[in-house]
Symmetry: C2
Subunit: 313 residues, 2 copies
């Protein structure tokens, strides 16, 4: 198995209401040609179009919670998929009432979708695997917010060992044997000679992970659930001088986001979900970097590669 593309593109980084040049919550995780959409604020379909995201590759949509800035764009995207002639099923993961909201809106417009829609209820109270394929699993992350809310943790599955091609050539190993060697097996020649796996392979690349902490009160225990993640997104609605307001509204400050990154021993921290009151976001970044130096600001249209082995200095 070669290293797959694994990255995230931010489409909307504004909290609650759209700000100047900042749209409502949405981001896409790319993994090996698949596109996973997480949250879908109003205008997300326009942002997907604007940034030329391949919407035909979106088969799974994750909704953190039912505040409007995180899902009011979902019904429009579902409708546009229908009007564009989509036939592939679409899976939606989120809080239980989401299905009734979507179905009602399809009903009143007398829309019978051309493609099947599958709703998967995410339990907001415990961490669980909500999606899984050959290469990746997605776990829910319970958040502490005014209404039930979860983050999502994308974890690459352990990768296969890597073939050492020159060693394989030297020992005359046929390519058809590579698959089992990658899984850790020794190679046995026709004459019975055993070539040890350790001779033929190298350690696999470390599996990578992306933890997306959605709207939440500062709550350090979440760090234990995402320990060692390579990239962590955390909401940073407010600055430190509004810590009381953040607590009251069950949001976090940029500094609190950084504290979670420290506790989680994350590789990098990306901040998002900024209050529209901040025109200049650099002061929020400064507050975070003072605590966790590998912090940066999410930027709309910007794609961040998820890399293993980045350590906070």
């Amino acid at each position: 198995m070669t290293m797959k593309d694994f990255s995230v593109t931010f489409l909307g980084i504004s909290a609650a209401i759209p700000a100047k040049n900042r749209n409502l919550s949405a981001q896409v995780v790319h993994y090996a040609g698949n596109v996973f959409l997480i949250d879908c604020g109003e205008g997300t379909q326009m942002q997907l179009k604007h940034y030329k995201i391949k919407t035909g590759k979106i088969n799974h949509i994750f909704i953190s919670h039912l505040h409007g800035d995180h899902f009011y764009g979902l019904i429009g995207l579902i409708s546009t998929f229908h009007l564009m002639g989509r036939s592939a099923g679409l899976h939606i993961y989120g809080p239980e009432p989401l299905e009734s909201v979507i179905r009602l809106q399809l009903d009143v417009s007398k829309t019978e979708l051309r493609y099947p829609l599958f709703f998967h209820t995410v339990d907001p109270d415990r961490q669980s695997v909500v999606y899984e394929d050959h290469f990746m699993e997605v776990r829910s992350l319970p958040m502490i917010h005014r209404i039930p809310c979860t983050g999502f943790y994308f974890i690459e599955k352990p990768l296969n060992r890597r073939i050492n091609l020159s060693a394989a050539a030297y020992h005359d190993v046929p390519v058809k044997a590579f698959e089992s060697i990658k899984l850790g097996k020794d190679f046995v020649k026709d004459d019975g000679t055993v070539i040890a796996n350790s001779v033929l392979t190298q350690e696999p690349a470390p599996a990578r992970s992306y933890a997306l902490c959605a709207d939440t009160l500062y709550h350090e225990p979440v760090a234990q659930l995402i320990k060692g993640c390579d990239l962590m997104f955390h909401e940073a609605t407010f600055m430190k001088d509004m810590e009381n307001v953040a607590a009251e509204k069950m949001h976090s400050t940029a500094e609190q986001a950084a504290k979670i990154a420290v506790a989680a021993e994350a590789g990098q921290l990306v901040l998002g979900h900024f209050s529209a009151r901040y025109e200049n976001l650099l002061p929020l970044l400064e507050e975070a970097t003072a605590v966790f130096s590998n912090s940066f600001l999410a930027e709309e249209g910007h794609t961040v590669m998820i890399k293993s082995g980045v350590k906070n200095s």
Copy 2:
């Protein structure tokens, strides 16, 4: 009564799905400082912000029908009004199920609005007065579409006669008498002399009107309901070569829109609600002007004054 501002600004002119540089249906009618919003496709709150429309002046929103491209932005606008601290009541006029769609979305986000929301059901089957104030009335216009749909007809009330100031000065008429003279009364001096109203006044400016025909099959009888309107908006989803598709989807072509304008003896015709398949809209305009010369294309952000006395040539 002096002449009030009366104009319309287009915010979204794309049908069904957003097109390059074209947003989903929304327009605002300005009258004497009030702003009436008609339809509210996804992204309308961003368009209102972008074009600096005074959203605090929006107290009445009219929704033609419940296809998503005409109302999926309403819940976001309602939420943003709430988050921005609005206290004034908001009146919404539209099909009956709209209230349940909006209430459900407020419920699932546990939002208790800071301001009252009043829903007014519009009967899609007959023309009726849905809104009225001192200066203006708004009538519904039954459309023929796949689901219940109405247009809206904004009609200025008959204006008062205009004082001839030099005649008033000559006859020594005090200003406090002007109001009753404007209403058509004669002026009686203290010595009993009667100055006829016709001496003191001029004919009022003609009342103006704007007829907004929403999504509809070509249906000529609607022209009788808006006879003599000064400006008429009509959907023009398709070109003539797609007349069959238009009929099947219960939409109109640009040429059909122009035929309605002729039958209605409208002053001017503005075309909108264009299929995303047309990158260049000029061919649609050509098809319309061949039938009705005072035709033009709606442009996003563009404001059109509603003038009386414009005649199609």
